[in-house]
Symmetry: C2
Subunit: 313 residues, 2 copies
Amino acid sequence: MALKEVSVFAPATVANVGCGFDVLGFAVSHPGDMVVVRRVADKGICISDIRGDRERLPREVEKNTAGIAIAELMNKIETEDGLEIEIHKKMPLGSGLGSSAASAVAGVVAANILFEEPLSQTELLQCALKAEESITSNGHADNIAASLYGGFVLVRSYDPLDIVQLPTPVHLHCTILHPHIEIHTGEARRLLPKKILLEDATAQWGNLAGFISGLYQDDYDLIGKSIEDRIAEPVRTPLIPGFSAIKQAAMDSGALGSSISGSGPSIFALSDDPLTAGEIGRAMQRAARDADLDSTVYVSKVNEDGPRVIKRH
Amino acid sequence: MALKEVSVFAPATVANVGCGFDVLGFAVSHPGDMVVVRRVADKGICISDIRGDRERLPREVEKNTAGIAIAELMNKIETEDGLEIEIHKKMPLGSGLGSSAASAVAGVVAANILFEEPLSQTELLQCALKAEESITSNGHADNIAASLYGGFVLVRSYDPLDIVQLPTPVHLHCTILHPHIEIHTGEARRLLPKKILLEDATAQWGNLAGFISGLYQDDYDLIGKSIEDRIAEPVRTPLIPGFSAIKQAAMDSGALGSSISGSGPSIFALSDDPLTAGEIGRAMQRAARDADLDSTVYVSKVNEDGPRVIKRH
């Protein structure tokens, strides 16, 4: 018997990861977004409810990231069935944690299950990417791919789109401090220079190559020292009051490395055990408080599983 | 009983490897250089003979790459014993195959064995790097490290110097075409822009990350498509007549990927079996001939072993 309703949780993601600007991302266990898709009699798609967004997200399907992604899926499978979408935002907007990507991924995965999985992972990626492209100026795949596949992912190439799934060292934990300020991706992107020094680029790709090796070799030390960002972090830190002190607090508490998550303002730190990850969070939050910043801390393992079905019936 | 004479062969190397400008290199099985070190009564070091260089290399210890490297080693171990050095150049100079690095590495490895191995691999690297720094303006470690460690190596960072040894997929073969023209590293370096587009840099580090993943995953397809160089190859190809046709001939014959070796003029192509590697060599040589270029072709597996002791007594 056909399914009537499917609820899927898709995880928040850390993009860039210091050394991997625009090409590297990973998923965390929480926070994330849940999307419910439900068959209804009326043809087409409607968004029946969005919770947790303080009325900030558009209710129009064609302007909403989950709506666009699901519409793209239905277009691909050529169905005109009726669908109702409910979006449960369980993570902050504009936080640098891939909020729009999590909603888009949760939406397409839920809809794909409802329709008995007609699309492949790659096709789902394309649907979610379409949403990301529609609502931002550029549409980078790093958050989308990490949320959909789980673990660490590399966007090796955009044209053609080529995603490489990377291994996740088993003890790798992530602490995220989300300062209660908002940075718009567009604004953070405008700060980036069009050209960079070849010398900085060389250092950056040396570090990214080291980071990738560290993932394959379970070498936590190598992972940590490779998290160095010469490109985005230097120009974006002025957007985050107290950034240097917060990062320093993380490092002093045993972080392997730390940098800005996506375009910020969230700051992530990696560590190799859960106790340290918790300690890092407390230290980061104290440093944020000293900079007069309210904040939320999330501590979790790197999430290897990607989206999770919460309910289906 | 103390050794009197040690002969060591150190392999030629391919640096940059398309996507890994200044940070990636690998060793081939041949060509390479052999250095003989021999105890003599007179204190200090002298170069007694250099063969195969058509009288082009300096005979003064302090100007010769093997001489400088060995002097550095003797300095480190604080010996004033007498040493005689014989250098057998078995590879072309100025070819982009790490000729000076091979001599320096063969020299320090031979001397280290003669003195009963007082220095670690890292210390030998430092000695050879010192030589590379003295004779070139910059002193990059990619050729040195690949020749000394064998296989693929990543120079993650120069300050501090951090070398990461990478895995070598078992079927990986390398074809090298050496056109009989010479390019000076300094000249090839001056062509490089000081700044590059962020967009090109991002594509480059995406490819390098893909290449590294391919090595770990034995994914020959991923290795091949990641060998794309947006930085050095575009500005250096004018130095190599017929480059595009030679590269195209390699690709048409089944190469996984192809680019300039080091600063050229040698062109390398990777493949996943020996027959294809041979076929690629013939095709490249035909294309070179069409461009009025005499050339030598070397076909070998990627050399995982590094330097090889030829004789000790």
